[in-house]
């Protein structure tokens, strides 16, 4: 669907994207996970044709670069900023973008989208009066107005409350269910783990690794940690099979009790499985949240 090959882009002395390559397959939700400043938005701008790379190539649907308006027609972008006209109503905003794309039966399409993002009740209200979450949803709807095959969502949950975040994530899942291909950037690993079929870990403009969450964890997450609390002290055991380790620890505690040994009871137990945070730590030596 979308292929970026050895993309490089520099702003002055700052290297924003440094030889990044990725391939987004048709019908998948691909997550670009990385901290702020990792080069995700620059990658999105290059992928959409808004920004020309210094080197490398972009191909959309095998049709060539999205700098060509006919190729660009197949993608929709919800930028990180709310790129809507605050003094227009929700309906007027969507209608405007529908007219720009020459959408036939624009009125029906706009109504569909307003219903999809659950803003039909506020359709005739000015965007300036909307909450952050409502603006985010409308921002997303504006990217869908021409029914694109590829949807690029750049940090679509930035700055919204948990309820709105869940609505947006549900919406993304729904889009994937309808067969859309989604390129999703975020610095929230929970989001990436929750909705992405594959995730690319980005830092300093480089693609560090790509795979499913399970594959990335298996490759870079290391072993699970089982933490056992006994008599106020904690013992941390790293193991590939934490369930077996827990069973072993309980068996040992029972045996101690039968032998009448006191003070060795297990008072607490915690399993820490490796996740994308661990993967990122392993790949970069620093936390995703730093």
């Amino acid at each position: 669907m979308l292929a970026l090959r050895d993309i490089r882009r520099r702003f002055g002395s700052t290297i924003a994207v440094d030889g990044l390559s990725l391939e987004v397959r048709t019908g998948e939700v691909f997550g670009l996970l990385g901290p702020n400043g990792a080069g995700k938005s620059t990658t999105i701008a290059i992928a959409t044709g808004l920004l020309a790379p210094d080197a490398g190539s972009v191909d959309l649907l095998g049709l060539g670069s999205p700098s060509n308006p006919k190729v660009r027609m197949h993608l929709g972008l919800a930028p990180q900023e709310i790129t809507l006209y605050a003094e227009l109503t929700a309906r007027e905003n969507l209608r405007f973008f529908a007219d720009l794309y020459g959408v036939s039966n624009a009125r029906v399409r706009v109504d569909e989208l307003l219903a999809l993002v659950e803003l039909d009740a506020r359709a005739n209200d000015r965007v300036a009066t909307f909450s952050g979450g409502m603006k985010r949803r409308l921002n997303l709807a504006a990217a869908l107005v021409h029914d694109p095959k590829l949807v690029l969502l750049d940090e679509p949950t930035a700055g919204v409350d948990p309820q709105s975040r869940n609505r947006i994530l549900e919406l993304v899942r729904r889009l994937a269910g309808e067969g859309k291909t989604v390129l999703y950037t975020t610095h929230y690993m929970e989001e990436a783990a929750k909705i992405c079929d594959r995730v690319g870990i980005v830092d300093h403009g480089r693609m560090l690794d790509v795979g499913t969450v399970a594959e990335l964890v298996a490759r870079h997450g290391g072993q699970s940690a089982v933490t056992i609390e006994r008599d106020g002290a904690e013992e941390r055991i790293f193991t590939a099979d934490p369930v077996a380790e827990v069973a072993r620890q309980f068996a040992r505690a029972n045996s101690d009790r039968e032998r009448g040994e006191v003070g060795r009871e297990v008072t607490g137990l915690r399993i820490e499985r490796p996740d994308l945070e661990t993967v990122f730590l392993s790949l970069t030596g620093r936390s995703l949240r730093e």
């Binding site: 959409t48 044709g49 808004l50 020309a52 670069s65 700098s67 308006p69 006919k70 660009r72 027609m73 993608l75 972008l77 930028p79 900023e81 709310i82 790129t83 809507l84 006209y85 003094e87 227009l88 007027e92 405007f96 973008f97 007219d99 720009l100 794309y101 020459g102 000015r126 504006a142």
Partner: protein, 439 residues
Amino acid sequence: MRAIFAIARKDLRLLLRDKGDVFFTFVFPVVIAILFGFVFGGGSNSGSKLELAVVRESESVLALGIEEDLANDAAFETTAFPTRDAAADAVRAGKVTAAVILPKSLDSGLEGLFSGQGIAIDAVVDPSRRAEAGLIQGKLNELAFRQFPKLFANPTEMSRAFSAARSSIASARGMSPTQKLLGAGMITAAESFTSSIGDEDASANASGGGGGANNAAGNTADFTPIRVKVEELAPRAGRPRASFDVTFPQGIVWGLAGCFGAFASSLVTERARGTLDRLRLAPITAFHLISGKAIACLVAGLLVQTLVFAVAIIFFGSSVAQPAMLVIAAFAASFAFAGLAMALAAFCRTEAEANGAGRGAILILALIGGGTIPLFFMPPFLRTLSYGSPFRWAVAAIEGPFWRDTSVGEQIVPLIVLFAIGFLGWIIGARALWRPFAR
């Protein structure tokens, strides 16, 4: 075309929904035009007084008396003018409400009265000041009548009048010698009566003579000893009929400036807030984008001009000398300011820059371009400087067909300059917008 009109419609909606932009585009220019119209003379009465231009062509006691009484009258503020034309120009320019001409014929003094011709006084008024014309006519009648006692008490005037009467009787062909003798006798009796009136009595008569004169007027219903001829001034091509003719074109350029500021700011806002990226992502070319914005800016410019002209014509009695040429000038001015909006947007990177530096630049250009103070009030060096301001050319282009009634040859220069400014602005602005598309 659908995308172009969508952009134009969207930009006009945004303009009309911003209260600040609506004020500066549609309300402010009308306020400026009216305010400066009054400041520069149109419709002002300096309190309750009517401003009169007085032209005294006669050196007679009668003319001097009327002039003096006009000056002392609480209803008038008089200014002496050397010629009728100068006084008429002042009326046309709205500097005075009316002009009073005390003609050379007043030299004959009471002769005219006795000969049955009456005393003629001329007045010239602005057609838009008809309400005041009646008052002026009445006042002139009153003041002229007031002169009679003075004339009757003036031995020189009376002696001149009696001599003239004797000459008339002597040369009259239809009178018999007896009638001539009787007439001459009556004149001699009247002469000896008037010469017996002492100075004090004469003074007393003069001060209380208004009533007597009025009575005299009342008793001579068919005889009009004072004839005040009021003439409405026809607008003369090439001269403003009132100060509003000058200030409404100024108001228009302020409206265009408001429009230009609003669109420049909107372009910068599109870039700063990222909506421009959405436009760039759409399958449209820079041509669509620029054309859409051009149409919106042109329509807004034409709307503001229509509004200001409508106010000028409906409420201030202005008339358009060359309607077709005015439409062309309005289009040229809108085009120029739309181009300027594009150029300003290219130079301003942030909304703060557009709203601060941008509007500041507009203000300076407006000031030196005659947007506030008419060019003819400016010192020469400022008038020269004004050639660098688009406001100057817009005012010139609009004034030409509005009231100056300039020839096509004279009109062509400001039109060419405006179109050139517009094209240049569009090229600069389009390049700034086009750049991101050139991948």
